[in-house]
């Protein structure tokens, strides 16, 4: 394996806009909101930035292509800005670009910023994307919930899980996230919900009801990264470093080869294994303190617990129901409320997840602060279960 990036890059500062129905803001205002918080946190001037990575997925709704939307909105000093887009993992991709630039020595300080302005589309749920020319002639006219819901049917068939038992387990996933999100002032949805509410909500795509789906929100998040040495020289203590950044991309096997059974994410398992190896984690169920995973739908989070090797194969239902991932459980998951309560401004989500891990590691998470976490994991998915990109990042205290 490559030497990896463990502890080569530190997070100098982070920022996150308020997520929600931001009727008051365009993408520029959201970017500035996240950027100013990150810059203040880092304690640097714009002229200290060497390069920037900008993630946004749906440029048709006013954010725009290329690097200029970020550079113009932030009035950056003519530095390199690279726009990245990798479906819903775009935010993690921006972070990867900035971190790799610093790790390589090409940049001393780099910015990663992701944004999405979904509430200007007029859609409930993600807007219909341009599918190209061949795909629409073959593929179903589906939706994100319809694609991810298929995990449930395949998972049930594989593990022999009763329909009602799985529905209740995924309901618990959402109940847990709402309980967490209620404590987060930056979350979009801040209401607690009951298991019965989730179970009885209107159906979106069987078996996913309204509360099994994440919200549609506007938002932006940003990270400023540098080397641990520069961070120390700038007087920073409690330094948080990046332990691993891995990305795995489908090669068509899941969608075209019968070796995949449809119940899990092939890419997630590969990215997780590589990330643990890069970070030197041998027993993730014991060693990971907390997680922010890509809970675009409750069933996604449930199968992800197995894909990340936290729950044993077929054991996620029991772990979820036992409260293993609740805020007071062994490995709290979605402490900030997750996509479920933050919504999913696509380009921002991966960075929003890292933001929560960063705050928790620095002991700055307020009412929802966990006791003494050491290692945080973020997991960010894009595409659909049958063809996707998966990012797994591990960040932790420099000395962890």
């Amino acid at each position: 394996m490559a030497r990896g990036i463990k502890d080569k890059v530190a997070i100098l500062g982070m920022g996150c806009s308020k997520f929600g129905e931001r009727w008051d803001s365009g993408p520029e205002e959201l970017m500035v909101e996240a950027y100013l918080e990150a810059m203040e946190d880092a304690g640097i001037e714009p002229t200290q930035l060497d390069a920037a990575w900008f993630s946004t997925h749906i440029d048709e709704i006013g954010t725009g292509k290329g690097g200029t939307p970020l550079s113009v909105a932030l009035r950056l000093p003519n530095i390199a800005v690279t726009r990245v887009e990798n479906f819903c993992a775009s935010g993690s991709e921006a972070l990867r670009g900035a971190v790799y630039a610093v790790a390589s020595g090409a940049a001393d300080i780099a910015l990663a910023l992701g944004v999405e302005k979904l509430k200007d589309t007029g859609y409930g749920g993600l807007p219909v994307a341009n599918p190209g020319t061949l795909n629409p002639q073959l593929a179903p006219n589906g939706s994100a919930p319809g694609n991810f819901a298929q995990l449930a049917s395949a998972y049930r068939a594989k593990h022999g899980v009763d329909k009602d038992d799985l529905k209740r387990a995924i309901a618990h996933v959402s109940v847990k996230s709402h309980a967490n999100g209620a404590k987060n002032p930056k979350a979009h949805l801040r209401n607690e919900v009951s298991e019965e509410q989730v179970m009885n909500a209107p159906m979106i795509a069987e078996p996913l009801g309204l509360f099994d789906c994440c919200g549609v929100s506007d938002g932006a998040a940003a990270a400023i990264v540098t080397t641990p040495e520069i961070a120390k020289a700038m007087g920073k203590s409690d330094i948080v470093t990046v332990k691993a950044l891995q990305l795995s991309v489908s090669n068509g096997l899941e969608s075209q080869h019968n070796s995949w059974d449809g119940s899990y994410f092939h890419t997630a398992r590969i990215a997780a294994k590589k990330a643990y190896a890069e970070a030197g984690i041998e027993n993730p169920r014991e060693d990971v303190s907390m997680m922010e995973v890509h809970d675009c739908f409750s069933i996604t989070e449930l199968v992800t617990m197995e894909d990340l090797f936290i729950s044993p194969e077929g054991g996620a239902v029991k772990d979820v129901m036992d409260g293993f991932y609740d805020s007071d459980g062994d490995v709290p998951c979605q402490i900030d409320g997750g996509l479920k309560c933050f919504g999913h401004p696509i380009g921002a989500s991966g960075l929003r997840m890292a933001y929560e891990m960063y705050l928790q590691l620095q002991g700055r998470a307020g009412e929802r602060q966990l006791p003494n976490p050491k290692i945080g994991l973020t997991h960010n998915l894009g595409g659909a279960p049958s063809q996707n990109v998966c990012s797994v990042a591990i960040i932790g205290a420099h000395d962890a």
Partner: protein, 497 residues
């Protein structure tokens, strides 16, 4: 008599699964058309939203052809319909592509008359008789549109028939035919018009059917040297009650020979109906029986066949008998109106997508899209859809090793699925999922002809050719394949007994 012994080699039929209960039509329209209340009996076939003449013809032809991948024995296709999806694009060419017939075949569309089905059959017989073709495939289908609260809405049905014509291994020998061409306008549909305009029924019955049909029948009998009493089955589409019996008498045929017009269980399927009734009759006929087939419209076609011992070889075909057994009652008249484009309804923002088809892409991937042809790696044997230059075989990315591999007639099951209320569908919830094929390969595809709660992982499905999308802006239709459940209804032809 025909010079050579030619005739029918095989048949296939297709009637859509949905059967609209006529009572649901008449009760909904009783306020405006109380005169039709008495006709609210029985049921009519109703194409699903994604079915049209072309898709039904493909299904009838697939019933005929069976699962044999080699279709090189078919060297011509004749498609008769008055509801062709395209005015200028070879509709029979689309059927040919869906059936993966050889490129070197002749394909002909026959239209503009209710006799289009019988005329297509006559063309096929002529081409084989004359030696131009060895085996010709005849398809006939109609997906008829009628105004709400009209008699036609009750009388019409949707359906398709397929016959193959050749000179050996015949299930029915062609004895001869006679055609009258008379510009008697009982009804018409102007170019670009959606609906038929008809004249008075009594005039059509007395001056049209009653004068033209006997004359045409007499001509056919004379040509074949048969007498009317020789006819065991008189097959003639007609919606007038008891008129076929009256015509049989007028012609000298036994009124008991009159074939069931299928009005109670299907409705009249337009240009396809003579062939639909013929296949239904053949599925109940015995060897050595003579069948007189007549179709009225702009004159009359009359064809006479004699069944052979080989009729029993058709027992595995679904035909019309099997299609009629595979039924689902539909009582929602609004659904019928919506499927037929007769009401403006709110499709939501997700229904606003532009469905423009890149014709270059369609052509480049023609066998993939139209024929459901994937690839098989000649080195590893791995099967995949769609075909690609580099194989999907794990860890064996062989390059340019794939040969065409047909999926349409292979057994398949559902691996994963969802019933989606969010994405736009003409018939929500939108069912789709990952379909895995016996022998390898998988396709994420639409699942059709299902009701909510019916689908589950592991369910056996089969492939059907259906409308994928409508491009209303440009008047184009996309076609592709969908999975439908394999149900227990199996055809039981008396001919097999």
């Amino acid at each position: 008599m025909a010079q050579n012994t030619i005739g029918l080699k095989a048949f296939g039929g297709y009637i859509p699964r949905l059967r609209l209960q006529r009572k649901s039509i008449t009760s909904a329209n009783a306020w405006i058309a109380p005169n039709l209340v008495g006709k609210g009996k029985g049921e009519r076939s109703m194409g699903n939203w994604d079915e049209d003449s072309l898709t039904m013809a493909v299904e009838a032809a697939r019933d005929l052809l069976g699962t044999n991948e080699d279709r090189s024995h078919i060297d011509a296709i004749y498609f008769g319909s008055t509801t062709l999806p395209f005015s200028d694009r070879l509709n029979s060419g689309i059927i040919s592509a869906a059936l993966t017939l050889d490129e070197g075949i002749q394909a002909v569309d026959v239209s503009s008359t209710q006799r289009a089905g019988t005329t297509a059959l006559l063309q096929a017989l002529n081409s084989v008789s004359g030696g131009a073709n060895k085996e010709a495939l005849v398809c006939a289908a109609d997906h008829r549109k009628a105004r709400a609260a009209s008699a036609q809405e009750l009388e019409f049905g949707d359906g398709a028939a397929a016959l193959s014509v050749g000179s050996d291994e015949l299930i029915a020998t062609f004895l001869g035919s006679h055609t009258l061409t008379v510009d008697f306008v009982d009804h018409f549909r102007g170019s670009g018009e959606e609906f038929d305009y008809g004249w008075e029924e009594r005039w059509i019955r007395d001056e049209g059917f009653s004068k033209i049909v006997p004359k045409a029948v007499a001509g056919a009998l004379e040509k074949t040297g048969l007498s009317a009493s020789d006819i065991d089955h008189f097959v003639m589409p007609c919606t007038f009650a008891r008129l076929p019996q009256k015509l049989a008498k007028m012609c000298g045929m036994n009124p008991d020979a009159v074939a069931d017009p299928l009005g109670a269980v299907c409705g009249e399927t337009g240009a396809a109906h003579a062939l639909v009734m013929l296949i239904h009759t053949l599925q109940n006929a015995k060897p050595g029986e003579k069948v007189l087939l007549a179709h009225f419209g702009g004159g009359c076609d009359v064809l006479i066949f004699e069944t052979t011992e080989l009729l029993a070889s058709m027992s595995s075909k679904r035909g019309i008998v099997g299609s009629l057994e595979d039924r689902q009652e539909e009582t929602n008249y609004m659904k019928f109106l919506t499927f037929h484009g007769l009401v403006e309804w709110e499709r939501g923002m997700r229904g606003e997508q532009d469905k423009k088809t890149a014709l270059t892409t369609l052509y480049r991937n023609e066998d993939t899209v139209m024929g459901l042809v994937g690839g098989r790696c000649t080195e590893t044997g791995v099967v995949q859809f769609p075909r690609s230059r580099i194989s999907v075989a794990p860890n064996k990315p062989a390059v340019d090793t794939q040969e065409p591999y047909k999926f349409a007639d292979r057994k398949a099951t559902i691996l994963s699925w969802s019933a989606d209320f969010l994405s736009f569908s003409m018939n929500p919830p939108n069912h789709y999922g990952m379909i895995v094929f016996e022998g390898g390969g998988r396709i994420m595809m639409d699942i059709g002809d299902v009701t909510q709660g019916e689908v589950d992982s592991g369910m056996e499905v089969r492939m059907v050719f259906r409308i994928k999308d409508f491009d209303d802006q440009r008047g184009f239709k996309r076609y592709f394949w969908k999975a439908v459940p394999v149900r227990n209804a199996v055809p039981t032809a008396q001919a097999a007994e």
